[in-house]
Assembly symmetry: C2
Homo-oligomer: 415 residues x 2
């Protein structure tokens, strides 16, 4: 068994070498249920939009040449031979010096090549006086000017919001091919951990991680399969993991990865398939005992039991992979620049992530200071933090009043 | 019937005067299904977290006073009377000069008030040598230091992500009371509009708005009730609206609000209840014919048929109201500063919204230029735009190279 502590970047490379994060399948779904889903194929227009030449104004369809030379004093005179309404397949066909009344959005009748606006005409019964000259194409939106038949209108990887849904509807599309949602089994281990909802006996605490990580899976575009809490029993865990491998695309566990006698996850992971554990410990703080395995071509992340560590490692390692499996372009995390209120020290030789709170001073200066998290097992640390500051392995400290980049948990822009 | 063109701000005030946008109800749901939902009541801790005094290290629980004066040369000697594992209700009770082995997370046994770390002891059988002095409380996380029983831990209006879900799980909570999701009926009107999925006869176009607006409702935290397309028939529309009022909290229609003979929405809205139409036209471009009614205490937005106008008016007027009905704090829209590439002209006397594309020049300067949208009915305008620039009613133009605020449709930060 390979048991070397890797740097964070080495850990990322090891995962990439063993596992190509990409969508696992596609499905055809109704456009009305496709909000936030990701297209798995490009969409090509099967028709012109608009499908026909449309009038862009209320007025009279004419042959432009019949209006040439017309002005206020010398109107062009023509016959009105009907009206074209919207939504109609008109049979009107204009001959010379003929016109047809037309409303906005209605199809231009055969023989016409321009539309004169209402304010530029005078009509008496079937006689029309046109007081302006129009050129061919005037006040007409030609077929295909918005979308051309055959044009690629949305590309693979596009996620669907109101604007994209509208474009698809315009083409008459009601079903779209999207990437399948990755299924992620999530469970916790530990003798002291009790599933929320049960009664808490003395010496026990409620499980946090299976809940917080299930929600984090949803935030990342995956579907969690919440599987509860299990004791640190190798035979039981082997069974649970094997079962999860049959129904999930990834497994996330928490707890059981430190160095104590009940920390059985690495051994269990190595016992159920090849290659087994590929990462056993990362030189970061918090999150050092993080263990990653690959079995049946599926990643199993065994995160530390400490809730803040588990969610941080999820953010750093797991979230980007689930997003890619969901077909979601992984955007950079949101960052803001701020100034440190006090000197920040890293853990020696480990990439260190310090949870911080942002504070806007009266002068307008944005400062950060660490959330008190010296207490082992504090679960409110993350909730109280606005984000984190990263300190490199070889850095001694970040001084007070130094400018730092804060990776924010929420969109704090304009806040 | 009141038929005055209002400014955008006047329109907002008229709506506020008639309708208080607030959540309509609450429901109890499983925490595992509560992602992105909004708490409708504050949550108070029913227990201490941790629920008992826990050891934060692996080591030996002792009475601190028994170690006073101990050092490398003069260790304190004591008896080991057992081990405390995690998850156990231990019966150990220490007398003077007694200790108990303890692992991280296990409850501190009665009589002990500090924990000595593994590296500071030497053990031979049941005899323990302690080479340091510890003070009372050392290496102990006291009950309630993370969360105090009775403390308000999450407040009404908080939306639930991974961090909040974790805090609730820590308290053993598996069900939460959240605001009900507002139901919004959405349909389109117009003789030329065909529902996507059907065959398109000559002179017709596919409906866009019922689809794009349904998705926009989802983006805003509402549940759309997609109701399709109806002809401009007053009796039919009366029936559809009355039916929608029984099952939806809000109605959004599009089309039928201009000044033509088939623009029957305002008349229909006034015919089905009181007070009926409260806004009939707004001095903005695009979106001038926007009509708003209040019937049975519910808002009905009748948006223009033009897809870009419909979505813009949704953003300006409807989205903030649905969000408040869903209990979601309405954050300001995302904005970026950019420089105009060309002079931008507003429509005279109307608040004007120009759809723009952002471009990063080689110099690093961010510029905006309008998306070509002169074509009436262009549906790709919004899809091609990165956001919009707003020009006030009394402004003549925005000059080229002027700095402007762009309201972006997507999160373009770090892009």
């Amino acid at each position: 068994m390979f048991r070397k502590l890797l740097t964070l970047n080495q850990a990322r490379h090891v995962i990439q070498r063993h596992f190509k994060a990409r969508p696992l399948g596609t499905e055809m779904i109704a456009l009305l249920s496709a909000y936030n889903r990701v297209l798995s194929e490009s969409v090509t227009a099967a028709l012109d939009i608009p499908p026909f030449n449309r009038s862009t104004v209320d007025g009279y369809a004419v042959k432009a040449e019949d209006t040439f030379g017309a002005d206020e004093n010398k109107p062009a005179k023509m016959k009105v031979c009907g009206i074209v309404n919207v939504g109609e397949a008109t049979k009107i066909r204009l001959a010379g010096n003929e016109s047809a009344e037309i409303v906005t959005g209605a199809p231009i009748p055969a023989g016409a090549d321009a539309v004169v606006m209402m304010e530029d005409i005078e009509r008496k019964s079937d006689e029309l006086c046109v007081f302006v000259a129009v050129s061919a194409g005037e006040n007409i939106m030609k077929a295909g000017t918005d979308i051309k038949k055959g044009e690629t209108i949305l590309r693979t990887g596009q996620s669907l919001g109101s604007r994209e849904t509208g474009v698809l509807a315009a083409l008459g599309i009601t079903k779209v091919k999207v990437y399948a949602i990755p299924r992620v089994a999530v469970f916790s281990t530990g003798a002291e951990v009790t599933e929320p909802g049960r009664s808490l006996s003395s010496g026990k605490i409620y499980d946090i991680n299976a809940y917080s990580l299930s929600t984090a899976v949803q935030e990342s575009g995956g579907k969690p399969i919440y599987s509860g809490v299990f004791r640190d029993d190798i035979a039981k865990l082997q069974k649970v993991l094997k079962q999860a491998l049959t129904c999930a695309d990834m497994i996330i566990t928490s707890g059981g990865v430190s160095v104590g006698p009940t920390d059985v996850m690495p051994k269990t992971l190595d016992s159920i398939g090849e290659p087994g554990v590929i990462i056993c410990g990362i030189a970061i703080k918090p999150g050092k005992p993080t263990t990653v395995a690959l079995i049946d071509g599926k990643l199993i992340f065994s995160l530390p039991g400490h809730p803040t560590s588990a969610l941080l490692i999820f953010d750093l390692l797991v979230r980007p992979i689930i997003k890619r499996m969901a077909g979601i372009e992984s955007r950079k995390t949101l960052t803001v620049k701020a100034v440190t209120a006090i000197r920040l020290f890293p853990a020696k030789g480990r990439r260190t992530f310090i949870m911080v709170k942002l504070k806007r001073e009266e002068s307008g200066r944005l400062t950060v200071e660490p959330v008190p998290n010296g207490l082992s097992g504090a679960i409110t640390t993350l909730q109280k933090a606005d984000g984190y500051v990263e300190i490199a392995e070889n850095q001694q400290f970040i001084d007070a009043n130094e400018k730092v980049t804060v990776h924010t948990f929420k969109n704090l822009i304009n806040a």
